[in-house]
Symmetry: C2
Subunit: 208 residues, 2 copies
DNA sequence: AACGTATCTAACAATTTTGTTAGCACAAAA
DNA sequence: TTTTGTGCTAACAAAATTGTTAGATACGTT
């Protein structure tokens, strides 16, 4: 077996593991299911990754990295005027989560059920958030001084943006039946929701 | 053993099961842990509740009921003017979740991992949400006609309120280290956050 | 061709976890 | 006093799940 196929076999296990862990969580995931989905014997899974725990670490690592990308997206383009920048940041973050809809629940559950892993997340995401925070707060302070926008604490604003964007995907399974024709097509609903989130945040910083 | 103690024993198991299921989820929960926490042998747990599944159903049932209360709280006081009413609804809902901080994650995970149970939730929560929606939309339509507020789709407004209020508690474990002194005391942070959520929503419906 | 190494399989082992059962103790009813 | 039923325990049973191991197979290198 050549190197490409070897790669592909290990990759197949990783892909199956990602799916299993993201949808069922660590406790609900079964190594036998992962092996079966990957089309290998479960001994192979242990051959490559030794334990369920180690395989899980690989997925957690990858997902925490993805999470830091999502936080980076929220920063927006620093060359734009502040309102446009925030609008672009919300949009980019929303699209990022839309492309990784299982990520929020996974990260939240993983952190809550294993607080000791928080440091790992912090190393990945902490500096990104600090950058976003400092950069944005500086611009907002100046823009508010000039009377262009209402001053806000960026930490609070970021929590609001994360709330609005992420919750849409966390609660999607509920809302679908409750919202009726509004959610007939996913694409349409997400577009409306994204616009609503932008509107809500921009009104929050609008000078009155 | 008299009836009170019998009650209390069954109640102890239920209380321990609630804690275990809420914090660890169905897959992570262990019947032996529940029995131990309740101070009974694990055979007793099976004696009273037969299976883990049946015990879990009891907890799910109770939590779905609690969830419908939380949705009811968001309706606010219909006798108040619309802005005051919405403000009161946000506040009541926030306080309700603050008193049941583990509820959102539990319900979200439970629904996502077992979509077949959605019907159960819908029977409990559906009519409450319909009531809240119809009542609020009617008042908002009239108030917007009179030019007092900006017209909004109440479904979108409700999603925003739920997002802002619930995410605060879902993501609390992350934010705590990231937000620094802002979150030194939980009570203080929650008060600030509640005010911020109210401000964000009220600005969304403010006439410009 | 012979050797060494990485890949892979089938079978087994250990542990955990859920669930059962036979029977004891005790209290209330007959 | 016997009977009956409920609460309860200890021990056992069954199944699922993770992990190991001995050896087979393939494959490149010398």
């Amino acid at each position: 077996m050549d190197n490409q196929e070897r790669q592909s076999k290990e990759q197949q296990i990783l892909a199956a593991a990602e799916q299993e862990f993201l949808t069922k969580g660590y406790d609900g995931a079964r190594t036998t299911s992962i092996a079966q989905a990957a089309g290998v014997t479960h001994a192979m899974l242990h051959y490559y990754f030794r334990t369920k725990e180690q395989l899980f670490e690989r997925i957690v690592d990858e997902k925490f990295e993805t999470m830091s990308h999502s936080m980076f997206a929220i920063m927006g383009d620093p060359s734009l005027p502040i309102v446009e920048r925030i609008k672009g940041g919300i949009e980019a973050h929303f699209d990022f989560i839309a492309a990784n809809p299982l990520l929020p629940r996974f990260v939240i559950n993983e952190i809550i059920s294993r607080p000791e892993r928080y440091k790992l997340l912090y190393k990945r995401v902490g500096s990104v958030i600090d950058n976003v925070y400092c950069g944005l707060q500086f611009e907002i302070d100046r823009s508010a001084e000039r009377g262009e926008i209402e001053w806000v604490d960026v930490k609070m604003l970021l929590i609001s943006i994360l709330s609005l964007n992420i919750f849409t995907f966390l609660a999607y399974p509920f809302m679908e039946p409750l919202m009726g024709e509004l959610m007939a097509d996913r694409e349409g609903f997400l577009a409306v929701r994204k616009a609503e989130n932008i509107e809500t945040i921009l009104r929050r910083i609008k000078k009155q």
